[in-house]
């Protein structure tokens, strides 16, 4: 039984805890043990330490990584930014002996030491490579055939591919999320701006109008080219941008539609039969109708609740 340390980051536990709950429901049911990383903090976000000092970035990331090292588990995170920041920090520490020495001098101040024994994975990597599509298919209570999904992998899960353990064949034509969605029975057609940036992140804090313009270009591409039933992402920042900003554009009269948005494990959890009040409860863009459609009697392929190979990580 494989065990992973769940690195939460900031947005998921504080802005979208239903995504966190979806991790805690689906992974044990798929045979992956999830353990907390107590006291883990911010990765740190690109606009903080990485923008001030490389060694400080590596030390703050290194501190988070040492929490997993102490528990002897690899890290998995559902936030693309955290995945990118932690992976790159680990790369910078390991690629340069003098950097590693400097980082460990800093970490020595708090009685920690970076060893490099914990690898870093994105939750979608764990689902795709470790769990596998077949096991996901076997776990489903509802079949999503006929639903059309626009996939949004996000940026930091794809680039720079030289520091990541799990790679796409072509990072500019990513297929892993498409395959994960198709495993649920839904279709995930290509659209021309599939790998494009959603505009969240530093850009949104620096200039919200430029961010929204980039977002709108992508959203219109999705709507005009494939007109999906929902948008599915494995990036919590993309989730927030798609969920929040459609309303903004609609209120301004710039779009006349709204497309429901899910984090992938939310869609998976719904298809596995978990309660939407736990795993898909918080959104700005309405999604009640599609949730009812997903968990409709007509789609039921199995009566029983998902097989719990392990106890849920939090049962309170």
């Amino acid at each position: 039984m494989e065990k992973y340390g769940l690195y939460l980051g900031c947005n998921i536990p504080f802005k979208a805890p239903d995504i966190e709950q979806s991790f805690r429901k689906v992974f044990p049911a798929l045979g992956i043990e999830v353990t907390d990383l107590p006291g883990a903090g911010c990765c740190p976000a690109w606009g903080t330490a990485p923008s001030f000092d490389l060694t400080t970035w590596c030390a703050v990331s290194g501190r988070n990584i040492t929490i997993a090292e102490d528990l002897d588990v690899p890290i998995m995170t559902g936030c693309n930014s955290c995945f990118g920041v932690l992976s790159e920090a680990k790369h910078f520490i390991e690629a340069d002996a003098s950097r590693k020495k400097a980082v460990n001098e800093k970490l020595g101040l708090i009685n920690r030491q970076f060893k490099g024994t914990s690898d870093i994975y994105h939750i979608s990597h764990v689902l795709y490579e470790k769990v596998g599509l077949d096991k996901i298919k076997e776990s489903l209570k509802y079949d999503l055939s006929g639903l059309k999904v626009a996939v949004q992998p996000g940026c930091h899960i794809l680039w720079p591919s030289d520091v990541y353990h799990v790679k796409e064949k072509n990072s500019f034509f990513p297929t892993q999320l498409k395959e994960l969605v198709e495993a649920l029975g839904a279709s995930a057609p290509h659209y021309s701006r599939l790998e494009a940036c959603c505009g969240m992140g530093g850009m949104r804090s620096t200039d919200v109008e430029k961010s929204l313009e980039l977002f709108k270009t992508k959203l219109l591409s999705i709507k005009e080219e494939i007109d999906p039933d929902c948008i599915v992402t494995t990036c919590s920042s993309c989730f927030l941008q798609f969920d929040m900003s459609q309303k903004t554009l609609k209120e301004r009269g710039e779009i006349d539609f709204e497309i429901p948005v899910f984090y992938y494990t939310q869609l998976l959890a719904l298809a596995m039969g978990f309660d939407p009040a736990n795993v898909a409860a918080l959104c700005v863009t309405p999604r009640d109708a599609i949730i009812a459609e997903i968990q409709s009697e007509a789609r039921k392929v199995r009566e029983q609740e998902p097989l719990m190979t392990l106890a849920p990580s939090i049962d309170r």
């Binding site: 536990p13 006291g39 883990a40 911010c42 330490a49 680039w159 200039d207 961010s211």
Partner: protein
């Protein structure tokens, strides 16, 4: 009259400083522009990123650019790193320049909040989410530094003993 005067001392100083801040690949750049062609920041209207930023730095315009806001439009997506045929890692040059700007406190006041949050709670983004978390069946307090004084002290120690600590932000 030329728009800029090239000065070899200034160029050498610019290259040295950008490398010290982490942009170690800057001299490999051949100005092909592959990076800017895939950059969402450039696409969105932040022109002085990737190729153009590197060009200006290689012309010795180090201190002149300190107020340039384009660098803060970088999404840190690393598309540039992926496509660069020379191994420059352009994003590292952008971040290296940001580090110089940050050392001169040349960043937007909105970015200060994230630094304060990071120092106070260990999270750049933090809101009290107890009711939201309980609504979805999770404990009100996430198992992170936000509710862990020892963890916060550790993070504060790392930040206090860094160039960030010398800026008087905390």
């Amino acid at each position: 009259m030329p728009a800029i005067v090239l000065d070899s001392d200034k160029i050498q100083d610019s290259v040295k400083r950008i490398m010290e801040y982490g942009g170690t690949g800057v001299l490999k750049c051949v100005q092909c522009g592959a990076c800017s062609a895939v950059c969402p920041g450039v696409k969105a209207g932040f022109p002085v990123l990737c190729r153009l930023l590197i060009k200006k730095l290689l012309e010795g315009q180090f201190e002149e650019l300190v107020e340039e806001t384009s660098t803060w439009g970088c999404q840190a997506c690393n598309r540039c790193t992926e496509v660069c045929p020379q191994g420059v890692r352009p994003q590292e040059v952008v971040f290296a320049y940001r580090r110089y700007q940050a050392s001169e406190l040349a960043f937007s006041s909105s970015a200060t909040t994230s630094q304060m949050n990071l120092y106070g709670t260990g999270h750049a983004v933090f809101t009290e989410a107890g009711p939201l978390r309980e609504k979805v069946g999770l404990p009100a307090k996430a198992p992170t530094s936000a509710y862990d004084e020892k963890a916060q002290k550790e993070i504060q120690t790392l930040l206090d003993n860094s160039p960030m600590g010398e800026l008087g932000l905390f």
